[in-house]
């Protein structure tokens, strides 16, 4: 917290800010397509290769090298456009976006400028509010094709950042990976819901892209990145304020926080009688605030011109309609269908969607789990454990593992309590459910399940005794067996308790 900004006395919080100012949004999302080869050459797009092992004369921009477009990338982009209700342009061209920065060895990025392949679409989204669900239509300005840049490593300097760096090292494996940019029109009329609308849009977009199978859409790995434009104008003024653009916001939660942060920052500047500067800002993950980056270059500074080395893309209606026929079920329609199929109450469905658990729950059910159990395990125990660790539940355990645990519960091999221990074991990295059960002796017939709980309670109450038994002091077991007999009201088979106890303690 060394960079705390002193707050002025008349500091507005978010609610006060949106009571005086109307936020307007613009969202630009970059998505890496999951083609096998790059946009304009046949180098692999595989993530994580050794530096500069996936380059060639084309993506290194060597003299005389000629690019050829990846047909699959064009089809993926058209699919995205169709899914976003866009018109597909009958004639579209690539353009050179010229800038001198070593992340592109060509000194330009091949992109699209005034002739993008998809234009004028929309995406309907829904958010939960205190007055019930609210729908918003986010209009899409354009969807265009371009290529990703290389990765820079700044060496020298105190923080690994560019300031004070002595030199930079470039790896061009990522340079030329197909990138699609999806740009909204101005999103107004959201009022105080601007942060939720921004998040819901990116979330719905991610679901659509995933359903199309065109991208990994992993925000945390950078295959989907969001730039958030925010401006404020006095309520009912009918004007548009100056916008800031917060770059590379890399999670849904950060999209929401970035909008909140910018509304608060800009409103306080305006309250102080200051001007908003049109600039690029960087999102600070820790504080939810933004800090200024370089001032925005004007569009003409990029000196766009049509790319002479590539021919125009002019999809005919036959091609477009063939692609349209392959569009999968819309995520919103799918959610409505699953809600009905699983008989999920409204509130629980909202929780599943907001937690991003729909896919894993569906997979778990498809693997044989009863819908109600699949839902309650993911939303309950697994989400609780994920919250404790501040991670996404889907990174803790797989649908296959959860389905295995649930099937053992359904067969009566595990009680809910034992299953919880199995899940904890899996999450702790002790292996698959069957391995955890074998290691910890958790898989028991129902009588044993109750005994095991009593045994574990006795061990927890007398850890030193348990340690002595682990160390080989078998007669010490008497104290724990007595405790279990007491806990079970004398109904347990003492020999069985002894056997289970010693086995559990590795004797």
């Amino acid at each position: 917290m060394s960079q705390m900004v002193p707050m002025p006395l008349n500091y507005l919080n978010y609610d006060e800010a949106v009571a005086k100012y109307e936020p307007t949004l613009g969202l630009e999302v970059h998505v890496e397509l999951n083609t096998k080869s790059k946009m304009f050459c046949s180098c692999s797009t595989e993530f994580g290769g050794e530096p500069n092992t996936q380059t060639c004369p084309v993506c290194l921009g060597l003299p005389g090298a000629l690019p050829v477009v990846n047909g699959k990338a064009i089809e993926s982009t058209i699919l995205i456009g169709l899914a976003l209700n866009c018109s597909i342009a009958p004639f579209s061209r690539f353009a050179r976006k010229n800038y001198f920065y070593p992340d592109m060895p060509k000194n330009f990025q091949t992109s699209q400028y005034d002739e993008p392949i998809c234009v004028n679409g929309y995406l309907d989204i829904e958010i939960a509010t205190e007055e019930g669900p609210k729908q918003f239509r986010v209009e899409i300005e354009r969807v265009h094709m371009e290529e990703d840049t290389g990765k820079s490593l700044h060496v020298g300097g105190a923080t690994g950042r560019i300031h004070g760096a002595e030199y930079s090292l470039l790896d061009y494996n990522r340079a030329g990976i197909p990138l699609v940019e999806i740009v909204t029109k101005i999103v107004g009329g959201t009022g105080k819901y601007a942060p939720q609308v921004a998040r819901a849009y990116v979330s719905e977009l991610r679901d659509i892209l995933r359903s199309l199978g065109v991208s990994d859409v992993k925000m945390e790995q950078g295959s989907m990145r969001c730039d958030v434009n925010v401006s404020l104008s006095p309520l009912d003024s009918g004007t548009l304020g100056t916008r800031s653009e917060t770059k590379n916001v890399n999670s849904l939660r950060s999209v929401e926080r970035a909008v909140i942060g910018e509304v608060i920052r800009q409103s306080n500047r305006l309250e102080a009688g200051e001007r908003i500067v049109q600039e690029t800002r960087h999102f600070l993950e820790e504080s939810g605030q933004t800090r200024p980056g370089r001032s925005k270059e004007q569009a003409e500074d990029y000196r766009y011109f049509p790319e002479p080395d590539l021919v125009p893309v002019a999809p005919d209606s036959g091609w477009i309609e063939a692609l349209r026929a392959t569009l999968p079920e819309r995520p919103s329609a799918r959610r409505a269908r699953l809600k009905a199929e699983w008989s999920v109450p409204d509130k629980e469905m909202t929780s599943l969607i907001n937690a991003g658990l729909l896919d894993v729950v569906q997979e778990t059910i498809e693997l044989g789990a009863e819908p109600i159990r699949a839902r309650s395990w993911w939303l309950g125990e697994i989400s609780r454990l994920a919250n404790e660790r501040d991670v996404d539940p889907t990174t803790l355990i797989t649908p296959t593992q959860v389905a295995e645990v649930i099937s053992l519960i359904q067969n009566g091999d595990l009680t809910d309590n034992l299953a919880r221990q199995v899940v904890e074991g899996v999450i702790a990295g002790a292996g698959r459910p069957s391995e955890v059960i074998a290691q910890r002796g958790l898989k028991v017939v129902s009588d044993d399940a109750a005994l095991m709980l009593a045994i574990e309670a006795a061990i927890a109450a007398q850890p030193e005794t348990a340690e002595r038994i682990r160390g080989g002091n078998i007669p010490a077991a008497g104290a724990l067996i007595g405790a279990v007999m007491k806990a079970t009201g004398g109904q347990a088979d003492a020999a069985k308790v002894r056997e289970l106890l010693l086995k559990h303690l590795g004797q």
Binding site: P51, N52, V69, F100, P102, L153, Y167, T280, P312
Partner: protein, 98 residues
């Protein structure tokens, strides 16, 4: 028509990160203006029925299959680099950018 001013050249030089002295700026402004003037004459003969073109041959939809082919080795890729380190291209510190 004097389309390119000395300031335009200075601006372009800055964008291209090329250092230029005063006499070079004057010289280039004059030269680029001449080149633009020569190219502009094409517009005099191109009628409204001639669409602006970006490619000499009227072809469209030339695409390749999404297949991976072998890339250069890092040694080959770096063989023309003025400087390198750790299998990466080494470039001077980048100023004026964040």
């Amino acid at each position: 028509m004097a389309a390119i001013s000395r300031d335009d050249v200075a601006h372009l030089a800055k964008l291209a990160r090329i250092s230029m002295n005063d006499s070079e700026l004057d010289h280039l402004a004059e030269e680029m203006d001449l080149i633009l003037g020569a190219v502009a004459r094409v517009q005099e003969v191109a009628g409204r029925d001639v669409p602006p073109t970006s490619h000499p041959i009227p072809v469209k939809n030339v695409v390749r299959e999404d297949l991976v082919r072998p890339s250069l080795t890092p040694q080959e890729a770096l063989s023309g680099a003025p400087a390198q380190s750790e299998d990466r291209f080494k470039v001077p510190q980048i100023l004026g950018e964040e």
